[in-house]
């Protein structure tokens, strides 16, 4: 079977990415390819360079060395909004939702649909609710567009945060610890949300400490340690034990 990874159609390609903060070398020589519809688990201990890597891809700061190619073209991001414009979305750990607004309002926050009424641009509530319901449907989440986010379960909140990334038809979604703070049943929901993204050809990078979740949804696991990529293996070729020893350094590289 030819996986999309072998076929050479990378949505994201990193070559020799390095990052220094003053005298501290946070990342060194990281190469990475992510293909459409592929779920890549990014693992590593605290300080291994995971979040630095994610922040570079998301446009929070530029790399000191190396090249980022997105859809085959080299890209440079000055701000996160540049990365979002070409189709890279991040679902933050704390989800970045406004509790006092409805699900639909959160999905469309910062890019509201409006319609012209005379000289004024007024919100198009109906269109936004309809589109949000459609997105929740795609994600199989029982979430009403008009419900307030503060009344929702952790799984529903994840669905709202992920629906936001679907709105722009992102090609790469990076999820930072999406299963860290929610119940077992809700973890199931979130993992199925990731499956939905995969079905629709979206590449997902899952940053997680939870080994079972990574092994449940990922096609590939990438292990970072001390700012370098130590392993990049198909999930079938490795085991939780091996990954653990790579993370802790018991095994240097694989």
């Amino acid at each position: 079977m030819v996986t999309p990874h072998d076929a050479g159609l990378a949505v994201l390609e990193l070559k020799g990415i390095g990052k220094e903060f003053g005298a501290i070398r946070a990342l060194h020589g990281v190469d990475l390819r992510v293909s459409p519809g592929e779920v890549v688990g990014l693992m590593g201990d605290n300080g291994a360079g995971k979040s630095t890597l994610v922040k570079i891809i998301a446009g929070n700061f530029p790399p000191s060395h190396g090249e980022i190619r997105f859809d085959g073209k080299p890209v440079h991001f000055a701000r996160p909004i540049d990365a979002r414009a070409i189709g890279i979305e991040v679902v933050y750990q704390d989800l970045a939702l406004a509790d006092n607004l409805t699900a639909a309002a959160n999905v469309f926050l910062g890019r509201e649909l409006t319609r012209k009424v005379g000289p004024f641009a007024l919100l198009d509530h109906k269109a936004m609710a309809a589109r949000a319901l459609e997105l929740f449907g795609e994600l199989r989440s029982e979430t009403r567009p008009h419900d307030l986010v503060k009344q929702m379960s952790g799984g529903q909140r994840q669905a709202v945060a992920i629906a936001r990334t679907r709105l722009s038809n992102a090609k790469l979604v990076m999820m930072d610890e999406p299963t860290a703070a929610i119940s077992v049943r809700q973890v199931e929901q979130v993992l199925s949300l990731i499956h939905r993204l995969k079905e629709q050809g979206v590449a997902v990078m899952l940053i997680s400490h939870r080994m079972p979740d990574v092994f449940a949804v990922c096609d590939r696991v990438v292990v970072m340690r001390r700012g370098e990529k130590r392993a990049d293996k198909a999930i079938g070729d490795t085991s939780p034990e091996e990954v653990t020893s790579l993370i802790t350094g018991a095994k240097e590289a694989a």
């Binding site: 996160p80 909004i81 979002r84 933050y92 704390d94 989800l95 970045a96 939702l97 406004a98 509790d99 006092n100 607004l101 309002a105 926050l109 910062g110 890019r111 509201e112 409006t114 004024f120 641009a121 007024l122 919100l123 509530h125 319901l133 459609e134 929740f136 449907g137 795609e138 199989r140 989440s141 029982e142 979430t143 009403r144 419900d147 009344q151 529903q156 936001r164 038809n169 079905e199 629709q200 050809g201």
Partner: protein
Amino acid sequence: MATPLDSPITFTNVSKAKWWQSGLFASQTGYVLLALIALVVVMNFASPYFLTEGNIQNVAKNFSFIAIATLGVTFVIITGGIDLSVGSVMCFSAMITSMVMTHISTPGMPGADWFVHLADDGKTVIANLPGLILLVSILAGLGVALIVGLVNGFCIAVLGLSPFVTTLGMLSIVRGLGYVVSNGRGSFPSGPEASYFYTLTSGVVFGMPAPFIYLVVLAVAMAVVLHHTSFGRHVFAIGGNEKAAALTGISVVRVKIEIYVICALAAGLQGIIICGWLGSAPANMATSYELNVIAAAVIGGANLAGGAGGPLGAIVGCVLLEVIRNGLVLAQVNSYWQQTLVGVIIIAAVLVDRLRSRMA
């Protein structure tokens, strides 16, 4: 890219909120409104004068004198900020408006000959262009409010100072400037157009006090802006989760500066209206009004932690305060009790909201 749904989405696990658990009925504004209606009914039985046309007009006029500023402060409170400088801005704008009007209506003053000339009798002052003096002096008053709002917004949004400290400082700065420009003396609008000014600010239109009409128009505009524009949505989002708002690409700095400017302009307009009603702008005008204004907003359901509030609440809060004041007078209760009662109501309104959200 949408995949066809296997089946339309169902909500077996998620119940729909009952109508009385959502919207106005579940908000603090809702039951403060109920309390207000109950109070009006009680007052109607307690005093035969309460629901007379004269008294209603009186109440309408009196609450209009703080309600426009309350609308402005409500914007700020929704974002989780506070503006303590509104009382000072009311006074300063009123003062600048009346001083500018007096200045440019006095022939011989620098620049005044652009606006007025003396009639042939050598005594009567005549405006060169009717309405121009009025326009310029009101714009001058609103202009200083605009500057105060910009400074507040700059310090809070760009420099990152706390809204409480910034506007507390501004309260003192603006009040001080008021004393400086007036030398502590009050000023009163005069000149050929002063009568237009009084008509505009304290006249009666269709049997209603003019300030009340401005209030209704501004409140409707505010409701539309808050609930039907992107700007309003962003105001609520900043109050709910400022970090999230920034992450979604909302220009938090810009929205914050805009709301402090809106608040200051509302206070300035309010001050100009009060000046027309009083017939002068004394240097101690509207002292400590910021507390009444914030109290009214909070009673009406604006949450000081941010994320909730609206024009209806602001008005309900103002009306409630005024009806209580008016009621105590009609019931011949010692008027010193007023402040005590207002304090009790502030705490009670917030307490009831807390109990309700615990039960939900």
